[in-house]
Amino acid sequence: MINNLCILFSLLMVAYVVVRASMLDARRPWFEKAPPAEALPDAAPDDPRRPIPQRH
């Protein structure tokens, strides 16, 4: 009983985190709107999603 509850807790946490991370990090629109380009600061220099630095 205790073992199964601990396994269930572990699996639920892992599953939630991976699904949530996939949604936040979506490379294309999935079942949630894709994050704006600003959310990808580490995109490669030639990646079209990379934000253009603003001049102020």
């Binding site: 205790i2 073992n3 199964n4 601990c6 396994i7 269930l8 807790f9 572990s10 699996l11 946490m13 892992v14 599953a15 939630y16 985190v17 991976v18 699904v19 949530r20 991370a21 996939s22 936040l24 990090d25 979506a26 490379r27 294309r28 999935w30 600003e38 959310a39 990808l40 600061p41 580490d42 995109a43 490669a44 990646d47 934000p51 630095p53 603003q54 102020h56």
Partner: protein, 456 residues
């Protein structure tokens, strides 16, 4: 039911991985640290589940996700050098059959850890990696915690998911080590996580799991736990900004931990002072002496599992007790294990890697100091310092030198270092000072406009 949940999780990783390739890499980490194939009968135990998800992760990266590769730095080169060296030492292993078996596990974890920085790049991905790392192993730790609170734990008992010593995750000293080393990471995630919504439930989850780790470590009756708890307390006290609050909280947690201990626990722990006559400690010291003698004759090491050839003689000060001879006693120490198995070059590479990782963390801390935008990376680097310090301290009493938890923890540092390198825009004039870790940069020069505000 348990099998169904595990199978669904595994299949879930594969499905999500088709849309988010980094999930496949997390799936491989999950398989290594959760060990689903040991948790009862299921079709998974008949399949090469590690190979399938590992191959899928590499293929998905090559076909779908090959962008912004990490810079090849000293840790990556050391990972590869260690991989090459352990292959060489295994080729002349004193126990070749057992040695190649251990090499198979160690080499795969090491190579996959080298690959992880290619796919774990953004803040969200790094956080997901840390979460999967923690909560995969939590399944093996929390049963110890609950049973300790209910029944008080015990030495040599099997309170985990699998039988005592069946796998490295079920060894009592390993449980104690993991339970303690995860605490700093959990406290950092509670403060900064983007993945779990803020609120009391989130606090409860992180605090509860951290407390569970501490109870589990006490419940093992392992003396390793006392060493780990000592290092954790000192390191967190030194890092704490509110030291009085920290001391008060520590006193409450300490009292709670002591409330579940018994006279048997106290008797077991008190033997730590009696290492010269206590049998278990004495055996370890004799094995370490044997290791030094062995590498004096074999400076390049004897390959994995060379401890099976160890031979020690146990003597007693009591003239009525006969001396006994023992063979095949394990190292119970990561440094002596690396020395005995991979010789002086192996130990040099291993210690160099640890030193380079600590320098990387120090550089991250300095570069992100005082930056609201990068506070999460700053705090995570500090937590990783403490976690690795606890791991190495506890590692003086258990050989987990080539277990997956070590390599995934080490590669977490590489991922964070690469993230900081990518997102911090350094003006040419300040580059040398920042590279030396001497000067943090003002927020305004780090990220353009809204990027800095979002803290992504």
């Amino acid at each position: 039911m348990r099998d169904l949940a595990i199978i669904l999780t595994y299949v879930g990783f594969l499905c999500i991985g088709t849309m988010s390739p980094f999930a496949l890499a997390l799936g491989y980490v999950w398989v290594d640290l959760f060990a689903p194939q040991y948790l009862g009968w299921s079709p998974l135990s008949a399949l090469p589940i590690s190979f399938i998800i590992g191959a899928a992760a590499v293929a998905a990266y090559l076909l779908l996700d090959r962008r912004a590769p990490p810079k090849i730095t000293a840790p990556t080169l050391l990972f590869l050098a260690i991989g090459a060296w352990i292959t060489a030492t295994t080729s002349w292993a004193a126990m070749p059959i057992e040695g190649w078996g251990k090499w198979d596990v160690a080499f795969k974890a090491l190579i996959f850890a080298t690959f992880i920085p290619f796919v774990i790049r953004s803040r969200v991905q790094i956080e997901a990696f840390v979460h999967v790392y923690i909560f995969s192993m939590a399944a093996h730790i929390l049963p110890w915690a609950v049973k300790t609170v209910v029944a008080g734990g015990g030495y040599g008992q099997s309170l985990g998911l699998v039988g005592s010593n069946a796998i490295w995750l079920s060894e009592s000293s390993a449980v104690a080590t993991i339970g303690i080393m995860l605490v700093p990471l959990l406290l950092t995630l509670r403060k900064h996580s983007l993945l779990l919504p803020r609120g009391r439930i989130r606090d409860l989850l992180y605090y509860g799991t951290a407390l569970g780790g501490l109870f589990a470590s006490i419940g093992t009756f392992a003396r390793t736990a006392i060493v780990g708890l000592g290092v954790l307390a000192i390191a967190m006290f030194l890092r704490s900004k509110r030291k009085v609050t920290f001391l008060l909280t520590s006193a409450v947690v300490g009292a709670a931990l002591l409330s579940v201990t018994s006279d048997k626990w106290a008797a077991r722990i008190s033997t730590i002072e009696d290492y010269e006559t206590e049998n278990s400690a004495k055996v370890r010291i004799l094995v370490w002496r044997w290791t030094l003698d062995y590498v004096a004759q074999h400076p390049f090491g004897g390959g994995f599992r060379v401890w099976l050839k160890s031979h020690i003689v146990l003597t007693s000060e009591n003239p009525n007790v006969l001396q006994t001879e023992q063979n095949g006693r394990a190292f119970h120490n990561i440094f002596f294990a690396v020395l005995g198995e991979h010789g002086y070059p192996g130990l040099f590479l291993y210690l160099s890697l640890i030193a380079v990782l600590f320098l990387s963390l120090r550089r991250i801390i300095r570069q992100t100091a005082g930056q609201k935008t990068h506070e999460w990376a700053h705090d995570l680097a500090k937590a990783l310092q403490i976690t690795i310090a606890v791991l190495l301290s506890c590692g003086n009493f258990i050989d987990i030198s080539f277990e997956p938890l070590v390599w995934y923890l080490f590669t977490m540092v590489v991922c964070l270092r690469e993230y900081v390198r990518r997102v911090i825009v350094v003006p040419v004039a300040d580059k040398s000072a920042v590279a030396m870790g001497r000067a943090p940069l003002p927020d305004s020069v780090r990220l353009p406009g809204r990027l800095a505000a979002r803290g992504q």
